[in-house]
Subunit: 405 residues, 2 copies
């Protein structure tokens, strides 16, 4: 297996761009990534494109990648549209990694793009709600069409959110098992929104207080609006090269993929390893890295409590110690192991088909020392964790990536 | 690069199964393929699932593979949902091949499943019509919602079919350049429907005459109903193994993947190579095989004229010689190089996300000598050609696979 180097990354700001289509977003991210890598479009040998719900939002149910990349100059090469719900982009990145690591190609492009905003917000909610086994959805919810959606409503509308219901259930269980309080969840949102103020690519850049979070509208108890990731649009892209190709491109600040892992969820017993644990274990083993080695971490905080659970699942702390780790300040910028310096999904945003590569872009910038005001000093090793969908007790897809400079 | 062996294949009959869901179809195909391979579900190391329009037909917009395979026992492994319109399944197969060929995994599963039938046929047509760059669709058609669909209407309803419009335009151009006549196109349908009578997995098993084809309802001149592939449901699956794993499984009749190629379409000049030509050229080169070496061929006859054009693009005959090759009888069962012994998309059917693996299943059966009444005697080398979507002048995705026993 060959070393794989991330030689270029690019992304749009995440946000609500009702006037921009997936193509426009994808083109901006691809242009930035290729320029960053010093790769001409014709130099790309294979491409993986991730988009999760474009069919429902824009009508482009099939070949979204070919449509989005049509004018970028990369077409002609093998191109695969890859979907794994909210883990679509890290899945596309994984396949790009696989083709380079295996020696099949020297230069691969991974692009994630999503448009979630729609003039009719129920369309967005309904789209997000399809990231579960539909049979399960039908069993668990007895609601009208308009109520099926997921994600956090961002206005005064009363919407039940199936997805946030799932997160709420997990949050309540976690409160029981760990002693976490709703205030702990609020502090996750406070931290990540504070980080987001430092990130020009974040959807939300306003600091919030614990009181703001607790006082914001309840979505699904104990979750309030500010504990839920927002609806948004965006794109992110990465160029992956073999070490030889990176040398040829005279890459000055190579970032190496130390491990790339994707697993699917399954109906597991409560005492079996979670999907995050399975993916992280494989990643640490492949990279020869321990949790304590991590300098910077981006996790899938689609809802605030998830960040605390993932601390434990990634081994950043012991079982039930998530709230304590947060309270210690270790995971804040300036702390020992900053988590979600980008602002995370809560503040940076969560355009689902772009999110996973968005996390990778952040970690690459951090490892290169290019993260501006939110730079983690001397970061050498970084991890991203990106989950997608729900399937019984686990996410439907889970991805963990490890990078080093 | 390692040799890759197809150790198991399975498929459902293609047809209209209004009472069956994608899960039921996929489970049948996967069970057959695993049984054929002698592989337990737990022996699968990675899976690729293709489905193109399930979101529009069933509502399962995301994680269709996880939902469909939930009870098969394969979950837990890396699983990727792959889409490339009508070439989705061959794209999934290609990625499964890549991971085994590259040494990343020893046992990979590729599954394609699609449900196109819907109580409201306009839903099916609309779904198929999304396999083009949507901007292009909006430019080229000035129709109502219900008119956007593709595929061939199978009842008396008057439907314009955008997809068949594209095929009709290509057909008229081909008539001009090659001298092909509408009778030639009819003869393709006659041949493939005759083959379909011999295939228990085919959607249509009735022989038709040239007169039947010419007299059937016009879809888009010169195409009549019987020159167009039908709307249908189905699933197909394949197990791919390294040579070492195949030996361990004591595979008695190994079929080798000699070449696996996927390319994307691009806006090309008329004098540039087509996507089929580009893909075929690479496949022949990788396999060290010439067109004259092929014993059996399955091509993407979504509309009858396409088969004649593909004869030329694959090098089975020279430019403009497609009609002559057909007339020679060489491509009929019993001829020198039978094409679409399965009945092809016209007769076997075209559940789009399953089609490409369906072709591969047929070729594997042919190379093993398991094709029953439609067996091509002594077939040793086979090719599949599977295209997906439209993008300007080319299919959006094109795949060519070569197999040998």
């Amino acid at each position: 297996m060959r070393d794989v180097v991330v030689t270029g990354v690019g992304m749009t700001r995440f946000g609500k761009f009702l006037d921009r289509g997936i193509r426009s977003l994808a083109e901006e991210a691809v242009r930035s990534a290729l320029e960053d890598a010093g790769v001409e479009p014709a130099g790309v040998q294979i491409a993986f494109f991730s988009n999760a719900v474009g069919g429902l939002i824009t009508g482009q149910e099939m070949i979204p990648g070919q449509a989005a990349l049509r004018h970028t100059g990369v077409l002609g090469v093998p191109l695969f549209n890859v979907e794994n719900a909210c883990a679509s982009a890290s899945s596309a990145f994984h396949l790009a990694w696989m083709t380079v690591a295996s020696g099949m190609n020297d230069v691969a492009l991974a692009v994630g793009a999503e448009k979630l905003t729609h003039p009719d917000k129920t369309v967005s909610f309904r789209a997000i709600g399809t990231a579960v086994d539909l049979e399960q959805l039908h069993k668990l919810t007895a609601t009208t069409e308009g109520d099926k959606g997921g994600g956090a409503p961002q206005d005064g509308q009363e919407k039940r959110s199936f997805f946030m219901d799932v997160y709420a259930t997990m949050a309540r269980e976690y409160m029981r098992s760990s002693g976490a309080t709703v205030e702990d969840f609020a502090e996750v949102a406070v931290k990540n929104h504070l980080h987001g103020t430092l990130n020009p690519y974040a959807q939300y850049r306003e600091a919030v207080t614990r009181q703001d979070v607790l006082a914001s509208r309840e979505i699904a108890g104990p979750l309030t609006l500010l504990m839920c990731s927002p609806i948004g649009d965006g794109a992110a892209a990465a160029v992956l090269c073999s070490r030889q190709a990176a040398r040829r491109l005279e890459v000055r600040n190579p970032v190496y993929v130390r491990a790339s892992v994707v697993v699917s969820g399954r109906d597991r017993d409560p005492d079996e390893e979670t999907a995050v644990e399975r993916a992280a274990e494989r990643a640490y083993e492949a990279a020869g890295v321990a949790p304590s080695d991590l300098d910077v971490v981006e996790v899938h905080d689609a809802a605030a409590p998830a960040e605390l659970m993932v601390y434990e699942e990634l081994g950043l702390c012991g079982k039930g110690e998530g709230p304590g780790l947060l309270a210690s300040g270790d995971t804040r910028l300036g702390g020992r192991q900053p988590v979600n310096p980008s602002g995370g999904l809560l503040s940076k945003g969560h355009p689902i088909g772009a999110t996973g590569i968005g996390q990778i872009v952040e970690v690459v910038w951090q490892l290169r020392g290019q993260a501006g005001d939110r730079q983690v000093d001397g970061a050498r090793i970084g991890l991203t964790e990106n989950g997608g969908g729900f399937l019984g007790t686990d996410p439907a897809a889970m991805s963990v990536h490890l990078f080093s400079r």
